[in-house]
């Protein structure tokens, strides 16, 4: 705790200049957290939250032993956490590794992990970590600064192409790492960055003694593939691999060399085994959890509650509703003015509507969000108007402009923008019928319902909406290219609770700036203003100043409605009631992020 304070005080002393490099740096950052802003197909990612005081039972009553079984929707792609990109692989390999710092998923703040303390230089560019003494890898070898230096050499190696490399790559310049002594490492960032320490929650520290030969031979990716012998996969996490039955089950066993101890001095983790079973079908996962074959289900859909509630009443499971998650359902219009293959990406007639602020505001006012919350999420969601959900406790701005459900206001806005009515049909100023296609990912029952509601709502203000469902991967690639759709319904998921993690979506040159991605120059004055504010908040080392800047960003987005937010579902997770020390949170992994402390009664 003290250490964290120290770090933060130092942080606030930093300068807050703004520079172009900084911007690029941030853009890089974003890529790291970019998985951050991903589409949500089936997997609801999530974020921070409060536990039900469950945590406090720690220590005395905790008992070592037992196993925890969780189901995952897909088999792991690799055993190397560094190369994990998808959610199942990430969550299955995360218990195998350690990080320099760990973001406490409940407080959303970084805490010491393998580094027992850190210092940030006054200019915000140099971070010095003091490593924990006596830490050993799961094969008994000691952990030193050399492992950290090795890890970052790997990350900085373009031939490795680690998914997290982008964040540490600024303008072709890598972050610099330097071994000060056996237990001290210093990093130099090219630009000051207030939330810089958070980045070190990402990369897993790799064992140099195991992986260096493979890396030198250019075989790092293959080294810990799915065929690797379990004892070769060595890490600093609470668990290590015990066995893997391809496509069926991954069994992790206790790492006896894990460094962490409980408050009463017991060696962690408590659990002997952590078992992941692969169940592709969501209904199977639900039924297995209901029957007690698995111990956790995360997340739980609101619809599942009807099935789970009787089991909860019997006392066999507990359900935690953590309130609005960071998964925000969003609907937006394609505002890309460009051409592809000589043809405009968006029909110019429609593009003119989509770029009209009042048109977007009208659409926003025409949507009955309460119905979405009730019908789609069984009431377990919050109506969403701004960019951040209330789950983002530190940064959420509750005072953004709200275009609440009001069809009359919607009509008024449309008429002000030059649209008119012919009977019930809306026509634009040139007398053309207002009609467009709403695209969403196929096979998602929640979105199918939402689009049918939106279709009916917009019909009430005279717009004809045709629905289209596209396979998720195909849709994602369309978005990345910024084209071939008119309006889209998806979700934005935050991977971290820090404004900089949203850069990719908010900067006009970001690839996640979906309504008009990868712009050379900001297309509108308000987008330029957002770019500017985002750069300034990145350089500001003072939280209050950053919050002021980011509040303005949220207000602009609320006013302009490039993203029309609909709802933020509650994050609901379920766990067997004999599990202790559960601290479910809104940041992933919602339930197992502190798996070293979880025990069985």
């Amino acid at each position: 705790m003290e250490r964290r304070k120290k770090h933060r005080t130092k942080g606030t002393k930093g300068t807050n200049g703004t520079s172009g490099t900084k911007g690029k740096f941030l853009a890089g950052l974003v890529c790291f957290i970019a998985p951050a802003i991903v589409l949500l197909a089936v997997w609801p990612a999530a974020l921070p939250s409060i536990s039900e005081g469950a945590a406090n039972a720690q220590g005395s009553r905790a008992r070592a032993g037992g196993r925890l079984v969780a189901s995952k929707s897909a088999a792991p792609q690799t055993f190397n956490r560094l190369f994990a990109t998808d959610e199942p692989t990430t969550s299955m390999t995360e218990p195998l590794v350690g990080h320099l710092v760990k973001i406490n998923r409940q407080t959303q703040l970084p805490e010491p992990e393998l580094a027992e303390s850190w210092r940030v230089s006054p200019d915000g560019r140099r971070i010095t970590f003091t490593l924990r003494r006596g830490v050993r890898f799961s094969d008994g070898q000691p952990f030193t600064a050399d492992d950290v230096v090795f890890t970052f050499a790997v990350i900085n190696d373009p031939n490795v192409a680690a998914p997290s490399a982008d964040i540490f790559n600024i303008q072709g310049q890598r972050i610099q790492v330097e071994k000060v002594d056996a237990l001290t490492v210093a990093f130099t960032l090219p630009v000051p960055y207030a939330g810089g320490v958070r980045l070190f929650d990402g990369p897993p520290i790799l064992p140099r003694h195991i992986l260096e030969p493979a890396w030198r031979a250019g075989r790092l990716r293959q080294e810990w593939g799915l065929g690797a012998a379990p004892e070769r996969v060595v890490g600093l996490g609470p668990f290590k691999i015990k066995s893997y039955v391809p496509g069926q089950r991954l069994v992790l066993g206790r790492n006896e060399h894990y460094w962490k101890r409980s408050a009463t001095g017991t060696r962690l983790p408590y659990l002997d085994e952590l078992v992941f079973v692969i169940d592709r079908d969501r209904n199977t996962q639900l039924l297995k959890f209901q029957r007690g074959e698995t111990d956790v289900l995360s997340p739980v859909n609101a619809d599942d509650l009807a099935v789970l509630r009787p089991v909860e009443r019997q006392g066999r499971i507990r359900i935690f509703d953590l309130g609005p998650s960071m998964i925000r359902e969003v609907f937006w219009f394609n505002q890309h003015p460009g051409q592809r293959g000589g043809r405009p990406i968006v029909d110019p007639v429609k593009l003119a509507w989509f770029r009209e602020t009042k048109f977007r505001q009208a659409v926003s006012s025409a949507i009955d969000r309460a119905a979405i919350v009730n019908l789609v999420f069984a009431g377990r969601a919050a109506e969403q108007y701004g960019f951040l959900s209330a789950g983002d406790r530190v940064w959420h701005n509750p005072n953004v402009p709200k275009f609440a459900y009001d069809p009359a206001r919607a009509r008024q806005l449309l008429e002000q923008a030059g649209f008119r009515y012919q009977g019930a049909q809306l026509l634009d100023a040139q007398g053309r019928e207002v009609a467009f296609t709403l695209t969403t990912n196929a096979g998602n029952a929640l979105r199918a319902k939402m689009s049918a509601l939106i279709q009916a709502d917009l019909a009430k203000v005279g717009m004809k909406v045709t629905l289209q469902a596209v396979e998720a991967q195909a849709l994602l690639s369309r978005l990345g290219e910024g084209g071939d759709y008119e309006a889209c319904l998806l979700a934005i998921v935050s991977g971290d609770a820090d404004p900089t993690s949203h850069q990719n979506a908010l900067l006009s040159r970001g690839s996640g700036h979906w309504w008009h991605p990868a712009q050379r120059q900001p297309a509108t004055p308000w987008e330029a203003r957002i770019d500017q504010l985002m750069q300034r908040q990145m350089g500001a080392l003072n939280t209050a100043a950053r919050k002021r800047l980011f509040n303005e960003v949220q207000s602009i987005l609320g006013e302009q409605q490039p993203f029309i937010f609909l709802a933020a579902r509650n994050l609901i997770v379920g766990a067997a009631s004999d599990l202790g020390n559960l601290r479910p949170a809104l940041l992933p992994d919602f339930l197992l992020w502190n798996c070293d402390e979880i025990y069985r009664r």
Partner: protein, 367 residues
């Protein structure tokens, strides 16, 4: 009378068959007829617009009709109570017993055109506002399942019917050409048939339907799906036709017709096709459920008919979770409808086969 005598023998056979009528055949005709009529008269039979959303009453269970009033006396017309959502998690609706709404027949509603022509304002039944009657319950968006079932029947049945109307003439034409002329014509036609049989039809249809341009209206989309289903439905039938024609070609009556100078067209029309008509009918009745199920499957996968146009497959797609089976079983109503229609078609086919079986002594095949 003269015309009746001139009438082709197969029609006569059919008529006799109907009189001798295997019960199965009559049953099939009855079931399918009922569904077809219901689909045609959906505007009149369905109490609500299929797209109407009652957002206060989603996943409402089928309405309970009361015949006794609260004093236990017989009520001359059934009535219902309004219900209110009490528990959003377990979706429990409680009836408000303070006010009863009786079920009324031939109620006046907004004007519509019955069968697309007759202006009409009357619906078969309804209740007074503010109550709504969901005889088969409502779906997750508060839409009346019965109304959607009826309108959905239009889509699902007409896709099957239209696919039949396209693929059968195609099959008969190509099969006859191949069988009648033989040689190179036969070779080309049969290779084409084999090509179509070898293609994994369903996956191709899925691929084609996802390649449809995004802004087609739901109706146009339904039509193109129908065309795709038909496109892949003719091949196996064409092969059967070809085999039969090949056999008939050598028969004496065909030879004598040819000797008498009949044109090929006349021979096919007057001597060959009547011989295969019975079997074709049986085949059509057997193929129809397949066509219908193709549409259902596509829509179930979200690639078929799109909202707000209701179709049986689309309605079933919302039932893809455990809860639909345990909690909202009424949303599976289209499943029952599909079952009945398929059963009807199979009864029909079976009955036809029995009635037209050349080995059945009671039938006169006229040659």
């Amino acid at each position: 009378m003269g015309r009746a005598v001139r009438d082709t023998h197969w029609l006569k056979g059919l008529r006799r068959a109907w009189r001798a009528s295997p019960r199965r055949l009559r049953f099939g005709v009855f079931v399918l007829g009922a569904f077809a009529l219901a689909a045609l008269a959906a505007d009149f039979l369905a109490p609500y617009d299929p797209a109407m959303q009652d957002r206060e009453h989603f996943h409402a269970p089928p309405a309970t009709l009361y015949w006794m009033d609260q004093k236990g006396e017989w009520s001359w017309r059934p009535y219902i109570y309004r219900s209110r959502l009490e528990d959003r998690i377990e979706m429990i609706y409680r009836e408000d017993r303070t006010q009863a709404f009786s079920l009324k027949f031939f109620v006046a509603r907004e004007e519509y055109r019955l069968l697309g022509v007759l202006p009409c304002r009357v619906k078969l039944f309804g209740v007074d506002a503010p109550a709504r009657i969901f005889l088969f319950g409502s779906d997750g968006l508060g839409r009346d399942v019965l109304s959607r079932l009826l309108y959905g029947a239009r889509v699902s049945l007409s896709i099957a019917a239209a696919a039949l109307l396209i693929s059968f003439p195609l099959a008969i034409g190509i099969g006859s050409l191949a069988g009648y002329y033989g040689g190179a014509v036969d070779f080309v036609c049969m290779r084409a048939v084999e090509l179509f049989l070898a293609l994994p039809a369903f996956y191709l249809i899925i691929a084609l339907s996802s390649a449809l341009p995004r802004d087609v209206a739901p109706e146009a989309r339904a039509a193109s799906i129908m065309a795709m289903i038909a496109l892949f439905g003719w091949a196996s039938l064409a092969r059967i036709v070809r085999g039969m024609v090949l056999g008939l070609r050598e028969r004496d009556f065909v030879a004598s017709a040819r000797a008498a100078g009949c044109t090929d067209w006349r021979i096919l029309r007057r001597h060959v096709w009547p011989q295969i008509a019975g079997l074709m009918l049986v085949q059509a009745a057997l193929a129809a459920p397949g066509f219908m199920l193709a549409e259902v499957t596509l829509s179930y996968l979200g690639l078929g008919v799109q909202e707000p146009l209701p179709s049986w497959g689309g309605m079933l797609a919302t039932g893809q979770n455990v809860l639909a089976l345990t909690g909202f079983w009424w949303t599976l109503a289209p499943g029952a409808a599909i079952l009945f229609v398929c059963f009807g078609f199979h009864m029909l086919a079976d009955g036809l086969r029995e009635a037209l079986d050349p080995r059945a002594a009671s039938l006169d095949w006229g040659d």
